[in-house]
């Protein structure tokens, strides 16, 4: 074992801190809440620090190198985001602080709602969903409620292409609706014949909508997207866009302008907030005017107009909003002045539940720390910078695709968006599979790409370099992939046993899937299960 569990390095009575004398009256816990056994780790501070530092050194992160995990947009998270999120005024703001005491935070959320709406062409945005899958769930619940309110509650079918993220059909099922799967054609687009058949046949009156990812999970722009949208709208359905791949669209294509009714954003993908360990995620949803009344709440709105000039630079307005309110939220005695000497009064921001809201998705106001980071990201780049993000993301992906096409089979050889699919398999090296190539990449110092997804490509390797990689970084990755392709022919065992240099060798995925022993309790107890 590389590093024992924290439960296995302590001993009874050991602790990291000495608690001060209790200076409030002691209260007994209710008997029903008392437990005899509470197997928590008992460790000193230095043990805790060493334990987690050792674990962190075994990890791989975007701060170390390329992380081309397709579909996940593992882009670099600029450190200025972290500075913003740690500003004490934000970091120490309690979620139950009343609105008058949190005008700065509300201002920021309001601005972020507007920016996200602007980027994607939507009327209104709610920041509350906790992650992408919850954003999807919110979107489909809104579509369902929209139909019910129009007396069309029989609409219970959602079309989902077979290239979709697995969360799409799961969302439909969670929302109490049914999936109608659509095939893809040989260019990777939705099969239009199948779509027309579904929307114009006997199921027409049951079509509630369609969930589609643009660009698709193959990294390809749906060339017939306008016809897809028109066909579903004609049948009375609404269009949901899975915004997972927004990194290929920002400042280039507005989904709202294409005709989509609702989409979710992954702030933890497109807008550089951390995934996983540094998370949590954030899955804001944007909607057009049809669905705006149904947004999950609360959303932030201006509840009382001010006289501050909305055209002023954001920072100035924020200062005004922050300074000019006293503790009760009302303007201070001496109002601020514009440079022209006119008195200004900032607007008052407040939390509002939309008129027919599907309700809350999460306690409080969503993952505010992620709103802050996404805000900082958009603010730093500005509109021309956001456009560059998209252009470099697409350029980098197409550069890698063009280079790797010479060594690997690319099943859909056309311009891609921010990611593309290779087949990780060679006709003259039958025993080597996508998984072996992925594992071997670790020996070359790269995080593996996503493998075996999308499901419609055999031996899929889904590669997404993101915008921040330099040509030199990309060329190193290409060189590693070319070497691996040679090794597949010359020494397939080298690949089949990879990785050779990682902290652990090839994991037994079959055994891990079959023997679900989670060793979070003390190892001795788990071993006896």
């Amino acid at each position: 074992m590389l590093q024992p569990l924290i439960y296995d390095i302590g001993s009874p009575g050991r602790m990291g801190v000495n608690l001060p004398e209790c200076d409030v009256p002691k209260v007994e816990l209710p008997a029903a809440l008392m437990r005899e056994e509470l197997p928590l780790p008992e460790v000193g501070e230095v043990q805790v620090v060493r334990h987690f530092v050792k674990l962190s050194k075994l990890n791989y992160s975007i701060d170390q190198g390329l992380y081309p995990l397709g579909s996940c947009t593992m882009k670099y998270n600029p450190k200025i985001n972290e500075d913003a999120a740690r500003l004490p005024g934000f970091a120490q703001l309690h979620p139950l602080t009343d609105e008058s005491g949190s005008q700065g935070a509300l201002f920021l959320m309001h601005e972020l709602q507007q920016w996200l709406g602007e980027i994607s062409g939507f009327e209104a945005v709610s920041l509350t969903p906790a992650a992408g899958a919850q954003g999807e769930f919110a979107g489909i619940l809104m579509i369902r409620q929209y139909h019910i309110d129009r007396g069309e509650g029989q609409r219970d079918l959602i079309l989902v292409p077979n290239s979709a993220h697995g969360t799409n059909p799961a969302t439909v099922t969670m929302a109490g609706m049914e999936v109608l799967e659509l095939p893809s054609n040989n260019k990777g687009n939705v099969d239009m014949d199948a779509l027309h058949a579904a929307c114009e046949g006997e199921l027409r009156d049951r079509i509630a909508g369609m969930m589609i990812t643009v660009p698709s999970t193959l990294g390809l722009f749906e060339e017939t997207i306008l016809e897809v949208i028109a066909t579903v709208h004609d049948a009375g359905g609404l269009m949901y866009m899975d915004g997972a791949n927004m990194n290929a669209l920002m400042a280039a294509v507005k989904p709202g302008a294409l005709g989509f009714d609702v989409m979710h954003y992954n702030l933890h993908k497109t807008f550089s907030t951390p995934h996983g360990g540094g998370g949590p995620g954030s899955g804001a949803v944007g909607v057009n005017e049809k669905l705006a009344p149904y947004l999950p709440g609360p959303i932030v709105e201006i509840v009382e107009d001010g006289t501050a000039d909305r055209e002023e630079p954001v920072g100035a307005t924020y200062q005004v909003a922050r300074n000019a309110r006293s503790n009760d939220g009302r303007p201070n005695g001496s109002p601020l002045q514009t440079s022209a000497g006119e008195a200004v009064e900032p607007p008052l921001y407040g939390f509002v539940m939309p008129e027919k809201s599907i309700g809350r998705m999460k306690a409080f106001h969503g993952n505010f720390g992620m709103h802050l980071r996404a805000y900082a990201y958009i603010r730093v780049y500005g509109d021309s910078g956001i456009r560059d993000v998209t252009r470099y993301a697409v350029l980098n992906a197409n550069y890698l695709r063009a280079k790797l096409m010479q060594t690997y089979k690319v099943p859909y050889p056309r311009y891609c968006g921010h990611e593309f699919v290779l087949e990780g398999h060679f006709d003259d090296a039958e025993d080597v599979h996508a998984l072996d190539i992925s594992k071997r990449l670790m020996d070359y110092g790269f995080h593996p790409p996503t493998n075996y997804f999308p499901l419609i490509v055999p031996e899929a390797l889904l590669i997404e370099p993101t915008e921040t990689e330099t040509k030199a970084d990309l060329d190193e990755f290409v060189a590693a992939m070319e070497r691996i392709a040679e090794e597949a022919r010359d020494d397939p065992e080298l690949l089949r046993n990879a990785p050779h240099t990682a902290p652990v060798r090839r994991l037994d995925e079959v055994r891990a899937a079959k023997e679900l022993v989670l060793c979070c309790a003390p190892a001795k107890a788990a071993a006896s299960v």
């Binding site: 006709d427 599979h433 499901l455 995925e509 079959v510 899937a513």
Partner: protein, 130 residues
Amino acid sequence: MGEWKTPAELKYAETDEWFAVDGNMVTIGITDYAQDQLNDIVYVEFRDAGDTVDAGDSFGEVESVKAASELYTAVAGEIAEVNMSLEDAPETVNADPFGAGWMVKISASDLSPLDGLMDAAAYDSYCDSR
């Protein structure tokens, strides 16, 4: 490619199930090609014996280290028997997809949908084309 077995006496669906007919009893499993593509199968789940299914319905699902897939029946009827031994030993599907790896037996109300399925030669070329 084309290393997988395709017994001549069976019928095959585009969704990679095989169908064996004995009277009105139809035995269903997944093909050698399917198990090869899925890789190590780690979990199976079937609907219960006694359930009735329509043609095109899902009768269960199979999960491997690579993917989870729905299983579809081409015939309607009552599920007469389920291969419970696969729940503890799903790897049997990899080892013997046409024998001990069978999945369900359906007492079919109508065998005619089987006429629309592929024979072994057609299924072979279908797999080759993928």
